[in-house]
Structures are given as C-alpha cells and as structure tokens.
C-alpha cells in the first residue's frame, strides 16, 4: 500500500520540529517536506515496514541533494591551477555584520600559506571602526602584506590595488575583506556589486553565521541578487549550532558550503562534510 497522508504528516511533524530546532529556515523546511512527500508518491510500503525509518532515509536523501551541489570546490586545486597560469587567485568575502568574514580570511590565508602559496590581503572594509587595524594585525601575525588606503576611501580601489600588487609581485592569492552590510541596505548592496565588478574575482564567498535563524534565507537571497555567490562558509559552529543554516543557504544559492568555522583560531577551519551535518541534525 502507499503511505497514508495523515500518517506521513504525523511522522514528518517530528522531523519538521527537529529541522526547525536546528535552524533550518521554515520555508526551506516546508520545501523539504514537500520533496519528501513527492519522493514517497507511488512508493509501496509493506504493512510491517518501519515507516519512520523509511521517511528518515528519504529525508536524508533530500537533505543530501540540497547540500551536495554538483560543483564541489577544491580551493587548493583551484589556486594551484591559477598559479600555473601565473595569475593571482582572487576571493572576495561578503556577508552581514559580525558573521566572521575578517577572521575567516585570516584562516584561509593560513591554510594557503601552509600549503606553499603566497597571499596578500586587501583591506576593503574602509568603513567600520578598527577594521583596518584588525586585518593588519592578522597580516602581521601571518607575516603577509596587506594593501590598505584610508578610512572612507573607495573599497573597490583598495581591492584593485591589491590585485595589481599581486600581479606585479607574483603573489598567488588575493583575499578581499569587505565591510559587513545588511541585505536591506541598497546602497551597501550596490557598493558590494561594484567591488565584485571591479575585482572580477575567482570566488565570491558568502560568510554566514551558524547562529542565524530564518534571516539566513533572506540574506542569501538578497546578496545573490546583487552578486553571484560561488560558495559559502558557515562560522561559529562551535557555539553549539548543528549548522542547519547551511541547508537554508545551500537551498537558496544552489552552491556548496566550502568550510565551517569552528573557533576563533587560525586552524579552526573545517572542511564541510554534508553527511556529517545531516547525521547530526537527524540524530
């Protein structure tokens, strides 16, 4: 027999709550449940089958499909290819205020350095108090150069400068730090658009905070309207978040989650593993 709709709804309800409690956005949870129901349409269920187990397996598939996008990003491989072409690999980091962009840049820089690549930083957050000093401290700690102008200067110009410096000095990667910005602020969205246009980066990385709730969907959607997100990094997983926001963001952007930020130190960067995440959420 086929799955009885009422029984299916009752089973899905518990999984729904689990997803919501793990910060998967409501409209994404709705869609996930829709997909599960679709997949179970016409599927024969034996009277003695463990119905909950069957739904869990299908749910696992649906979540995996959202997270496992067809383009998996191997950062080191991409950077090495550009090095062979004698061009710098350019990454622009964007996201709303306080998500961990600047710290993540330092982590990525450390990762590249420890794999033998040279890095230069671009202080393209020319707005927030202390942003240039913060990034500069990271540059000093890492022993790499940072290109900066003054506060209030043009963010795109700083990035442009850094890229030219990288080309002239044969530096393998340029990491561009940008100011945090609310997706509801159109002027800042246009500024971000300009930075991406001017730098023509190899990757635009959206940095999201794992503690974010339903707003993660709105953030990813809006940012995606102005610039095309190539990949996401989700930070502060160590704050006890299961990382459900990565499902919301992946659902919206259809792009991979590259790394997870699991702490404030340079080595607190973990390769994203969709199965591991799904396991934790459905536990």
């Amino acid at each position: 027999t086929e799955f009885n709709n009422e029984k299916l709804d009752a089973i899905l309800w518990d999984f729904k709550l689990a997803l919501l409690e793990n910060d998967v956005a409501l409209i994404v949870v709705d869609q996930i449940c829709e997909n599960v129901k679709q997949k179970l349409r016409g599927v024969e269920i034996g009277r003695l089958d463990d119905k909950k187990k069957i739904v869990k397996r299908i749910l696992n598939e649906v979540l995996y499909e959202i997270l496992q996008t067809n383009e998996n990003i191997d950062l080191l491989d991409l950077v090495s290819k550009k090095r062979m072409a004698k061009e710098p690999f350019i990454i622009v980091f964007v996201g709303v205020n306080g998500t961990g962009k600047t710290t993540t840049i330092a982590k990525i820089a450390k990762l590249l350095l420890s794999n033998g690549y040279s890095v230069v930083l671009a202080a393209s957050d020319t707005y927030r108090a202390g942003s240039i000093e913060q990034l500069e401290s990271h540059a000093k700690r890492l022993g790499i150069r940072m290109v900066k102008h003054t506060y209030g200067s043009d963010a795109a110009a700083v990035a442009f400068d850094a890229i030219n410096h990288a080309i002239a000095s044969g530096i393998n990667a340029v990491l561009v730090d940008t100011a945090g910005r609310m997706q509801t602020n159109r002027n800042l969205m246009f500024e971000m658009q300009k930075i991406v246009k001017v730098t023509d980066p190899d990757l635009v990385v959206f940095v999201g905070d794992a503690l974010t709730g339903n707003d993660a969907v709105n953030q990813a959607e809006e940012f995606n309207k102005y610039i095309k997100i190539d990949a996401s990094i989700l930070t502060k997983i160590d704050a006890d978040s299961k990382g459900g926001a990565s499902i919301s963001i992946a659902y919206v952007t259809k792009k991979p989650t590259m790394y997870l930020g699991i702490g404030q130190s340079y080595d607190d960067l973990e390769q994203f593993n969709p199965n591991f995440l799904i396991e934790k959420i459905l536990a």
């Binding site: 709550l17 919501l20 409690e21 793990n22 910060d23 956005a25 409501l26 409209i27 709303v96 205020n97 306080g98 998500t99 961990g100 707005y127 927030r128 108090a129 202390g130 942003s131 000093e133 913060q134 990034l135 500069e136 401290s137 990271h138 700690r141 609310m182 997706q183 509801t184 602020n185 905070d209 503690l211 974010t212 709730g213 339903n214 707003d215 993660a216 709105n218 953030q219 502060k236 160590d238 704050a239 006890d240 978040s241 926001a245 404030q264």
Partner: protein
C-alpha cells in the same frame, strides 16, 4: 510568504462570518508559522499557540466583547507577557560611578553598542567613559577608541596589557576618581561552550561588581538564542538585554525567546552601525515587528 504575516491571519478572522473552533484552529496554525518564521523558540511557539487555543475556546467571554476581539486580545496578551508592557529603563544612581558591563556572543554588537550607550548617556548630561577590556580580539582597542573619539567620550585601554581584569580595575579606578557617573565596560565575545571564557566573565563581574550587566543579542539569532542567554545568565546575573541589528529584516523572535527564558527586560535596541542608532525598547512596537 504564505502564512508568514500574522496580520494577514488576523485579517482572516475579521473577515470570517463567525469565529468558531475551525477558525481558531486555522488562526493558531498561521500564528505558529508566523512565530517560527520570526525565530521564536520551537517549544515556546507550541506552548504559546496551545495556550491561545485553550483560552479562546474555553475562556468565558468577557461582557461586551466579541469572540473576535477576545481572540485578538488573547494573542496580544500571550505575546507581551514576556516583554512587559511598559518600557524598562536602566537605573542610574546619581552622584556615584555606575558601572555597566557588556557581554555577549562573538559579533553580536557589544563594542558598537558600548559606544552607543556612552553617547546616549552623554547626550543626557552624564559624565560618561568607556573601557576596552577585550584583550583578545585584534583591533578591539582601536575600534572602541575610534568610536569613542566620534562622540568625545574618554576611553581607557592598554594594548600592552593582556590581563583584562587589570585593565577593568585600572579603568574603573581612574574614571571613578575623576568623577565619572557612567563607566561602560566592553568585553570579549564568548559563547556557552567556551567554558574558560564564561568563567573569565564570571570572575570579571565578581571583581568589577557592575551595577548592571547588559547582554547583547543579535536580532538575527535563531533557535540558539535562549540557550546562549541561559548560559550567560547562569554565570552572571544579566540585568537587561540590548537587542542589535534591528535595521535588518530579522524579526527578533530569538531575542524574545531569550528574555522569556531568563526573565530580563530589553532596555535598548540598535538599528544601525552609527553611534546614534540607538533607542529605548518599546514592547508594543516590537510585537508588531514580530507578527510581521
């Protein structure tokens, strides 16, 4: 966004010919969705919606009020019960140094809010000062210094001192001896799983003995809000909450869940990056935002 706006749901009741059990159940469902999408804690949503359903179906209808009006009244009551209905203010004792200590999760807006609070009180004639007791984050000193300079409030910090307790003590002694009435202490970000950092915070509060410990909460926070707030409250008694980033699209249900859990009033809100983007918290406005 079907069902995400509670005002739409309420409009449905207003249009409904009679308010019977099916209308109430339909409303409660819409209500749940609105609250979930607003980031209210899942268990709290289930509790509130069940209460509303019971009250509207079982409560004796007060005289002269329609079933419809009663339903709307019940919804409003159940939501504001956690927020209080009158705006709460920070109590400043005149003629002494009042110490306000800011704590919260990484990136929630402590440093920015510290400067905003300083400006708020300075504008009201209080002699106000800032202390940077965040010795961990790169650029924290410069960030607070630059913000302090914007509003001409003195800031004490020490780039060569790694011990935040020493900085806090020195800063308070200095500003207290100079007759400052409000001393605002910015601290490093931390979350509930960083046990040593939570312990540090506890010790700092013990040393400094602040008049009020303010928990900074980001309006975009989701289901973790109350869990984090409880951990902070368990370590040091939180006096009030400062809710930041309300200029975004987040509805703030996480913050509501947090204050519902630790029973602490929200006294300030932040609606922008500028140091003037601060306001006192008005419960009714917030409920409006929550309901979309």
């Amino acid at each position: 966004r079907l069902g995400s706006s509670l005002t739409d749901a309420i409009r449905k009741i207003i249009k409904a010919p009679i308010v019977d059990e099916s209308v109430v159940n339909e409303l409660v469902k819409d209500f749940q969705r609105a609250l979930l999408q607003a980031d209210v804690k899942v268990q709290l949503v289930l509790e509130i919606s069940e209460k509303i359903r019971k009250r509207t179906l079982n409560e004796q209808l007060p005289r002269g009020i329609s079933r419809r009006e009663h339903l709307i009244k019940v919804i409003y009551e159940e939501l504001t019960t956690f927020l209080g209905d009158i705006p709460a203010q920070i109590r400043i004792n005149p003629g002494v140094s009042n110490i306000l200590m800011l704590v919260g999760v990484q990136g929630s807006g402590k440093t920015t809010s510290a400067a905003k609070i300083a400006r708020y009180f300075q504008k009201r004639g209080f002699k106000t000062a800032l202390i940077c007791a965040d010795t961990f984050r790169f650029g924290a000193f410069h960030q607070l210094q630059q913000l302090a300079d914007k509003t001409n409030v003195p800031m004490y910090g020490d780039l060569n001192e790694k011990n935040s307790f020493k900085i806090a003590k020195k800063g308070i002694e200095k500003f207290r001896s100079e007759g400052y009435e409000i001393i605002i202490l910015d601290t490093a970000g931390r979350h509930k799983n960083e046990e040593s950092l939570i312990k540090d915070m506890k010790e700092l509060a013990h040393i400094v003995n602040p008049d009020e410990i303010i928990l900074i909460i980001d309006a975009t926070i989701g289901q973790q809000a109350s869990i984090q707030a409880e951990a902070f409250h368990e370590a040091t008694k939180i006096g009030s909450v400062f809710l930041t980033k309300l200029d975004g699209s987040a509805r703030g249900g996480g913050a509501l869940s947090a204050v519902a859990s630790i029973k602490t009033p929200i006294k300030f809100i932040g609606m922008g990056e500028g140091i003037d983007a601060i306001d006192t918290f008005v419960p009714s406005r917030f409920v409006g935002r929550l309901l979309g």
